[in-house]
């Protein structure tokens, strides 16, 4: 990997960010984690990210709102949604808003990594 891609993970369960950070950093990504969406969206004003992995259901600003905001302001950022339930309606709603991928929890790390790689190779 020549370029160091930057990934943002937003989930109100701390372990999701911790685990994603540990495993994605292994592959050379730079990862920042947030427990809620507001400071995450603030951060986007300062720094460019390549991928955002966000939880669907969160207190305050939820995953759908993150997705819509990001697509409006930074359409080039890839958004991947994860959710506690295999929620079909949520998946459809997210896909309509141009989500790159949608994973039910527990998320298989291999699949998440593959999805990120696919997104980044498309971006090139």
């Amino acid at each position: 990997m020549n370029k160091q891609y930057k990934i943002m993970v937003i989930d109100d369960e701390k372990i999701v960010g911790d685990m994603a950070k540990m495993t994605l950093e292994q592959d050379g990504y730079v990862v920042e984690t947030f427990l809620n969406a507001a400071p995450a969206l603030e951060r986007l004003k300062e720094e460019k990210f390549d991928v955002i992995v966000t939880d669907y259901k969160m207190k305050g600003i939820d995953g759908m709102e993150v997705l819509r905001t990001v697509k409006k302001l930074y359409p080039e950022i890839v958004v991947i949604m994860i959710t506690a339930f295999a929620n079909l309606d949520a998946a459809i709603e997210a896909l309509r808003s141009d989500v790159h991928d949608f994973f039910p929890k527990p998320v298989k790390i291999k699949e998440l990594k593959a999805s990120i790689q696919r997104a980044l190779s498309k971006q090139k």
């Binding site: 989930d11 372990i15 999701v16 809620n36 507001a38 929890k105 527990p106 998320v107 298989k108 790390i109």
Partner: protein
């Protein structure tokens, strides 16, 4: 969970209706199916939860809660189903369930699993589910003694419960709160900034962040911790704790507390994790075994939880809104040490060096651990015969020795001993051998403390993960270097436990060969079996031809963290006994030879998962879920009282459900209420069949069925075997008059079986229960054979005969020997033989049943011919060679 408890209470308040009446067979059979279903569901959830510990998924607390609720429900259902099958014979299981469920729920709530546990536990009584109670170091030592049978000093743990009692008795938490208050007040000024930023966050709707800032406790400095230490020093032992420790010391010293000396060591809750608090906590050496001295040393060790260095670990030791970290303590007998030291089971600077590194000095190990002396250094090759590669004798001017009145001190080493090695070559090699054994068991390089007493006996004092330094990222560039290793097998079967392991293949032919399993080998077997638990601590990896990732064996493999691939189909035929291989159960590949690059990659690139709260939580819960203590149904401990985990309960239920089916009395009822169909084959078996669903497809008239009309998978296989050319002998075998006389005096247990007087097969598509009487012996096969491996079982029973007991026993022995060759677990008592097997595929099952059919036919009259023991072996050989002639 409430609903489960309600169900449970209802069970006890409601009287079982018609408990004495036998259930109709169809009902029995359908309830048996229900037991299998709920059991399977539970095993699958268990497997799924175990899999999550492997670090391949991102999960959260909701997953843990949801999975556990489903698991508890399935286990409950299984118990309920078994009781409805057995008419409430096993209601006690509900009590066991409630006990385990309670503990797991307590863990989920962040509490210790037991409300009140023993204050003192001897090492021999410590098992893995107690590791929270006794702390990492104690649990590790007990494990080395109890599982690896290594020599560790005798001792006991003073538990986490004892710690909590001490804290409560001395009102330490209240006092700490007051102290915090004091420090908070003193630090108020510096807090102003925090409060301002908290307000900003709160206004922006970020209430959590605001709260977090306000509860920062960084004003708790070293002087705060000094005051906390003082609380422990000044505390008093609660009376019951004092008397428990006193009693334990009495036992440990063999009644001679005067001359006995003890080492009192810390064993804190998270001490052996990646962030091991190495060297933070106190150890008191050579303490006289009286309660006064030990009590004082105990308090010193507790106080060291808040040692000056502890401030760095503040959030771990004293987490906000959670109970403070508990400190367990180990009390072990001092070793009268001639020499002691430290050894690394691998070279921490270069894992490619396949060596064990030993540092040693005369006397106790303190000088080596501190690095305060020029010690001896030995480098030993990491495999048999443990060749000593380097011997560097240090100056060793000083050594630590025990002082008569207690404590230790450093003394000078006599000139004559300074420049000679403190270990013999034999001792060096034996230490290296034990280091390798421990590394294999722990699945990670180890940092081990040891002592050798004046009689030359080695003691392991402590073992913890060795910190490895490796160039960052170097491990990732291994893919190209892997190309040079030939791949023996790729993408065959399913991964049951991820990881990488290497060693020589141990090709298992018979279960009893497990006792010869060399440590560090890769177990390769046709079938999986829960009996593998006996070698799991020593196995580098496991490969089986059949099996599923949800089997009992797979669950245990996850517990022991043994890389495991099941259902490869061809493992036993490709992997030759004694060959060195590397099992990559990450990418499902098996390499020829030892692939060091992969093994090192495993060690250096592992994510410290156990630093994550949820992983620790799941691991704690699984301690009450996956370990299997009930292994052999033939042993006396196979009772509900001995079920300590959900896995035990499920295993017990499966076995007892089969026993209910096998209950021969049921068949009287079946016979009375059903129309029997005669088996119409060219041999005179005299078998009548009763179809309870899909077992027969009658085409012709009348009440008889040919082989073609049998649609019962297992029964068809058995009959096929009985009809195998040459196995059914029609000629009468000459019987001596004594044989005939003894056959008139039937064995009491035979008549107790209330034989039906007919040969009967109760069949369904996937099931048969076949009861046979040929002459004077009784044979029974109960078998379920389907495409779902886990449901499959064969139960085989054979008893009696027409001749004297010696000949009958010989026949039982003959049958037993043959059944063992088919990998069945057998139990022989006189002329009664019981054999069983389970968890094998349908084709293998059909093959086995075919052989059992042949065996039934072959051995019908054999006992009259078994005049001496030597012929038994001949007939066994003949049968296995396909030579069925007798006489």
């Amino acid at each position: 969970m409430k609903t489960l408890l309600e169900k449970f209470r209802n069970l006890f308040t409601r009287k079982a209706a018609g408990a004495d009446a036998k259930l109709p067979f169809k009902v029995v059979f359908s309830r048996f199916r229900q037991v299998l279903e709920s059991n399977n569901r539970a095993l699958e959830i268990m497997a799924d939860m175990g899999d999550k510990l492997g670090g391949n998924y991102i999960f959260d607390i909701n997953y843990i809660k949801k999975s556990y609720a489903e698991l508890a429900d399935s286990v409950f259902q299984s118990i309920y189903n078994l009781n409805s099958l057995s008419q409430n014979k096993y209601l006690y299981l509900h009590r066991i369930f409630e006990k385990i469920n309670d503990r797991i729920n307590r863990i989920l709530e962040g509490k210790p699993p037991l409300e009140q546990a023993e204050p003192v536990l001897f090492y021999r009584d410590i098992s893995w589910e107690m590791s929270d109670e006794v702390g990492g170091k104690n649990a590790g030592l007990a494990e080395l003694a109890n599982y690896l049978k290594l020599n560790v000093p005798e001792g006991f743990a003073i538990t986490a419960s004892a710690f909590r009692d001490f804290v409560e008795y001395n009102r330490i938490e209240e006092k700490i709160s007051a102290l915090k208050q004091k420090y908070r007040k003193a630090a108020k000024r510096s807090h102003k900034e925090d409060i301002m930023s908290a307000i900003t966050f709160a206004e922006g709707g970020e209430h959590d962040t605001a709260r977090e800032i306000l509860s920062e406790e960084d004003y708790l400095d070293e002087s705060f911790f000094a005051e906390v230490r003082d609380l422990f020093w000044k505390g008093k032992l609660p009376p019951h704790l004092e008397s428990s420790i006193e009693k334990a010391l009495e036992i440990l010293s063999g009644g001679d507390t005067e001359s006995c000396r003890i080492a009192v060591r810390s064993s804190a809750e998270k001490e052996d994790l990646e962030f091991s608090f190495a060297g933070q906590f106190e150890t008191a050496l050579n303490v006289p075994a009286g309660i006064k001295n030990i009590g004082k040393a105990y308090k010193e060790v507790l106080a060291s939880l808040y040692s000056p260095g502890a401030v760095a670990y503040r959030d771990l030791i004293m987490p906000r809104d959670k109970p403070m970290m508990a400190m367990s303590v180990g009390c072990v007998k001092m070793v009268d040490a001639a020499a002691s030291g430290v050894m690394f089971s691998s070279d921490p600077n270069n894992l490619n060096n396949e060596v064990v590194i030993i540092s040693a000095n005369w006397g106790l190990g303190k000088t080596v651990v501190d690095g305060s002396v020029d010690a001896d250094h030995f480098t030993v090759r990491k495999e048999e015969p443990y060749e000593i590669l380097e011997k560097k004798t240090g100056g060793k001017e000083l050594k630590t020795v025990a002082v008569e009145e207690g404590g230790v001190r450093e003394v000078g080493v006599p000139e004559s001993e300074r420049n000679r090695p403190c270990l013999s070559d034999e001792q060096i090699r034996e230490l290296a051998r034990q280091a390798v054994l421990i590394e294999h068991y722990m699945k990670k390089p180890q940092d081990i403390e040891w002592s050798i007493d004046k009689k030359g006996e080695i003691f392991i004092l402590q073992s913890r993960p060795l910190r490895i330094s490796s160039p960052a990222g170097a491990a990732r560039n291994i893919i190209s270097s892997l190309r040079k290793y030939p791949v023996l097998m790729e993408n065959r079967g399913k991964i049951a436990r991820r990881g990488i392991g290497a060693g020589r293949v141990f090709l298992l032919r018979r279960l009893e060969d497990l006792k010869n399993f060399p440590p560090g080998s890769v177990l390769v077997a046709k079938h999986d079996s829960s009996h593998f638990i006996k070698v799991m601590p020593k196995a580098s990896a496991i490969i089986t031809d059949t099996g599923t990732p949800t089997s009992h064996m797979s669950n245990i493999a996850r517990e022991f963290q043994v890389p495991t691939i099941v259902n490869t189909g061809i493992g036993t035929s490709i992997l030759k006994h004694g060959r060195e291989i590397t099992v990559d159960a990450e990418d499902n590949r098996i390499y020829d030879g030892i692939v060091k690059e992969l093994l090192n990659y495993k060690i250096t690139d592992e994510i410290p998962l156990m630093e994550l709260e949820e992983f620790r939580l799941l691991q704690k819960m699984l301690r009450y879920i996956t370990p299997l203590n009930l292994i052999d149904p033939l042993l006396e401990n196979f009772t509900p009282e001995n079920c300590r985990t959900f896995h035990d309960i499920l295993r017990f239920i499966h076995e007892k459900a089969i026993a209910e089916l096998v209950d021969i009395d049921r068949y009287k009822e079946v016979l009375r209420n059903n129309i029997a169909v005669k088996l119409d084959v060219p041999i005179p078996t005299g078998i009548f069949m009763i179809d309870i669903g899909g077992g027969l497809n009658l085409k012709g008239e009348g009440n008889k069925a040919s082989l073609e009309e049998i649609t019962s998978i297992p029964f068809r296989a058995i009959v096929g075997g009985m009809m195998h050319p040459g196995v059914w002998h029609s000629e009468a075998v000459s019987m001596k008059i004594n044989d005939f006389m003894s056959s008139m005096l039937k064995m009491p247990d035979v008549s107790a079986m209330s034989y039906l007087g007919e040969n009967v097969a109760v069949v369904s598509r996937e099931y048969v229960n076949l009861s046979l009487r040929f002459g004077y012996h009784f044979n029974m096969i109960d078998c379920y054979c389907s495409d779902n491996i886990r449901d499959n079982h064969v139960y085989f029973r054979f008893v009696g005969g027409a001749t004297d007991i010696t000949k009958r026993s010989r026949r039982a022995e003959l049958i037993g020997s043959i059944l063992k060759e088919f990998n069945m677990r057998t139990n022989l008592k006189g002329d009664l033989i019981i054999a069983r097997t389970d968890n094998i595929t349908r084709p293998e099952m059909e093959e086995l049943l075919d052989h059992l059919g042949r065996l039934i036919a072959y051995t019908r009259q054999l006992d009259a011919l078994l005049n001496d023991d030597s012929v038994v072996h001949r007939y066994v050989r003949n049968f296995l060679d396909g030579n069925y002639r007798i006489g």
